[in-house]
């Protein structure tokens, strides 16, 4: 193993592989920062270069390096402009953008990048450690266990409803209900598709999230008539404060990183869930929940950490079984085949050096991304002091392009605008948006895994030992939080 690790590292650092890592990283950096420019579109566009590169490790340096960095820099846009740079980096907005408005953009970015780096390294290390147990681990999680995981995620709805439980749960319920849109798996029934083919596969996360979060922010910016940052209280030295925050809340960062790895390793769950679960955990583990949404640095650290570490987790089922967890990984899987590698047992024996090289690529690209981002931070932060009136047309155009590039469909822009209006009224009337998104991403999964569990095992799956353990945990945590709410009276 040590031998393969060394060999993997040397291959990554050799020429031209390292050159490709720098090139891919540079592209990923720009793509991640530009709101509206999807990492997936770019990844698909760059995939054919794998034919030209031929050498497996060099090809992964290029593609995986690009993919990993896109996630990191996507958070920058979320924090600075309140527009998700990627569909998966929306949770960072919740507290990152309020921090920017308070003039603490530097601190928020410092926290997001450092937690991203720390957790990215954590994810890489877990990936390396799990290599010997990777296959049994993935095989252990059947549909019943995954169903219980989604239910656990859904109970986070309540956690994210700090102000009013009924509003939060209802917001989550709207998300759950909307996730039913599309073709039903068993009977082929078209649910709520309103006579369009567009809705057959349900609503895509990216346009919904972009509209829901970005449009209310644009409206607020127009109403205030000022720059994004309301006060110039802070100099760029705030970045260091953000770095310190990461270590002040080191264990939170590590736990959220862990959540990212675990959720990322579940095939089919997708990148959207892990960040929200991490955010929910950050809220849940805080003593003063009311600070969240107003610029609590923990609310940046949590999703920041998960956003990067999930890549390590994502690679587990992709490498071990050829089952990609996300669309990004599906494209990378294409790269596996192009360079002549077959995901599966061979990746953990014969081609172990390649697998470990991927770990190194994650590590090195994360360090590079953080390093380069820190160099540019002061320039980027200046943008938040630009007059809002100058920024608004840019932001609107980017929202439209970002929504469109999710599926190359004009209807996605309409969806973004519709959910923009919904998001506006939710904020106006104090209905939390986070449970809504969580319901949207988890509802379909819960239904699907329940369907598979019932189809495969009838009701016997309820007696699987891991399921029983999870039921106990679930009941315990729910009754604890109900008890706490009863005692504080915020129903």
């Amino acid at each position: 193993m040590i031998e393969s690790a060394t060999s993997g590292l040397l291959q990554v650092l050799s020429w031209p592989a390292f050159g490709f890592l720098l090139l891919g990283g540079a592209i990923g950096f720009v793509v991640g920062i530009l709101p509206g420019l999807g990492g997936l579109t770019t990844l698909a566009l760059m995939l054919p270069f794998a034919y030209t590169i031929q050498e497996p490790i060099a090809a992964f340096c290029f593609l995986l390096g690009m993919h990993a960095i896109t996630g990191t820099t996507g958070d920058i846009t979320s924090i600075l402009f309140g527009i998700p740079g990627e569909g998966t980096s929306a949770a960072t907005i919740m507290d990152g953008y309020p921090m920017t408005k308070k003039g603490q953009a530097g601190r928020a970015l410092g926290a997001a990048l450092t937690s991203s780096l720390v957790a990215g390294l954590e994810g890489a290390i877990i990936l390396a450690i799990s290599i010997p147990i990777m296959r049994p681990l993935v095989l252990f999680f059947g549909a019943p266990e995954l169903f219980m995981l989604t239910i656990l995620g859904i109970t986070f709805l309540a956690t994210l409803s700090s102000a009013s439980l009924s509003k939060g749960v209802l917001a989550g319920g709207i998300g759950l209900a909307i996730s039913a849109v599309g073709i039903e798996d068993h009977t082929g029934t078209l649910r709520y598709t309103m006579g369009t083919i567009y809705l057959w596969e349900g609503l895509s996360l990216a346009p919904v999230v972009v509209g829901l979060f970005a449009i209310p922010e644009i409206v607020d910016l127009a109403v205030r008539g000022s720059s994004i940052a309301e006060s110039k209280v802070e100099r760029i030295s705030g970045v260091l404060e953000g770095v310190r925050d990461t270590f002040r809340h080191f264990w939170l960062t590590m736990r959220c990183g862990m959540i990212g790895v675990m959720v990322g390793a579940v095939p089919g769950v997708g990148g959207g869930v892990s960040q929200w679960m991490a955010y929910a955990h950050a809220v849940q583990s805080s003593k003063d929940k009311k600070r969240f949404g107003t610029g609590a640095v923990e609310g940046v650290l949590g999703p920041g950490a998960a956003n990067n570490s999930k890549e390590g987790g994502n690679l587990i089922p992709t490498v071990a079984f050829g089952v990609p967890g996300t669309t990004g990984m599906a494209i990378l899987l294409g790269a596996f085949l192009i360079v002549g590698l077959t995901p599966g047992p061979d990746m953990l024996t014969k081609h172990l050096d390649v697998t470990l090289a991927m770990v190194w690529i994650l590590v090195i690209s994360n360090i590079l991304a953080a390093g380069v981002a820190f160099l540019f931070l002061s320039q980027l932060v200046k943008l938040t002091f630009v007059r809002g009136n100058l920024l608004i047309p840019f932001l609107v155009v980017f929202v439209f392009l970002g929504a469109f590039s999710a599926n190359n469909h004009f209807a996605d822009i309409v969806v973004a605008c519709v959910f923009g209006v919904l998001g506006y009224f939710m904020v106006l009337f104090g209905w939390p948006r986070a449970p809504f998104v969580l319901g949207l991403v988890l509802g379909r999964l819960a239904e699907r895994y329940l369907g598979i569990s019932l189809g495969a095992y009838g009701t016997a799956w309820l007696l699987h030992p891991p399921v029983l353990v999870m039921i106990v945990i679930l009941l315990g945590s729910v009754s604890y939080s109900v008890y706490k709410r009863m005692s504080t009276g915020s129903v």
């Binding site: 530009l34 009013s164 509003k167 939060g168 319920g173 949404g293 506006y424 009224f425 948006r433």
Partner: protein, 169 residues
């Protein structure tokens, strides 16, 4: 009794779940189960929510809800600014939504390529009252980014305007 806007919103949420349940009434059981399992309890909860809203409307003294419930100042999400006069704020909100939806309509009718530059330019020049130079330079920048990156490099299939299809061009 005056109905507050948030009460209307709560009512719309109730209506939403009613539609979710009603829409599923003719489906096979397997397709129906999920919308109903979610929809029915949520309908009940939405009704509870609406009643709470109405009661907090009726009179402060009789209201059983906690302060956290009735005042909307407890953060669970971001808060809109409160420093701008409500009348001006409302006018600006209507304006920006009109711009966004006007842009959407124009994109649909004329296509994104044709709509983006005039939208950016008009917003800067007319809405924000910026100078000619700045407006033109920024419009050029957006156009370059759009055209170079999204159109030429990424080749996103932006649809042509609906108007051209109607006119048979």
């Amino acid at each position: 009794m005056r109905i507050r806007p948030q009460t209307v919103f709560s009512f719309l949420v109730l209506l939403f779940f009613a539609v979710v349940i009603w829409g599923a009434k003719d489906w096979p059981v397997k397709a129906q189960l999920y919308p109903w399992v979610i929809g029915i309890p949520m309908l009940v909860l939405a009704a509870f929510r609406l009643v709470t809203d109405l009661r907090s409307n009726a009179g402060k003294g009789a209201s059983p809800v906690t302060p956290a419930e009735s005042s909307d100042s407890t953060p669970a999400d971001i808060q809109f600014t409160r420093e701008v006069d409500p009348v001006i704020a409302r006018r600006r909100t209507v304006h920006i939504f009109s711009w966004i939806f006007g842009f959407l309509l124009a994109c649909w009718l004329l296509g994104l390529s044709v709509t983006i530059p005039p939208f950016v330019f008009l917003y800067l020049k007319v809405k924000s009252g910026e100078g000619w130079t700045l407006s033109l330079v920024l419009t050029g920048a957006v156009w370059l980014l759009y055209w170079g990156l999204f159109d030429r490099l990424l080749r996103l299939p932006f649809p042509e305007g609906q108007l051209y299809l109607w006119l048979g061009l």
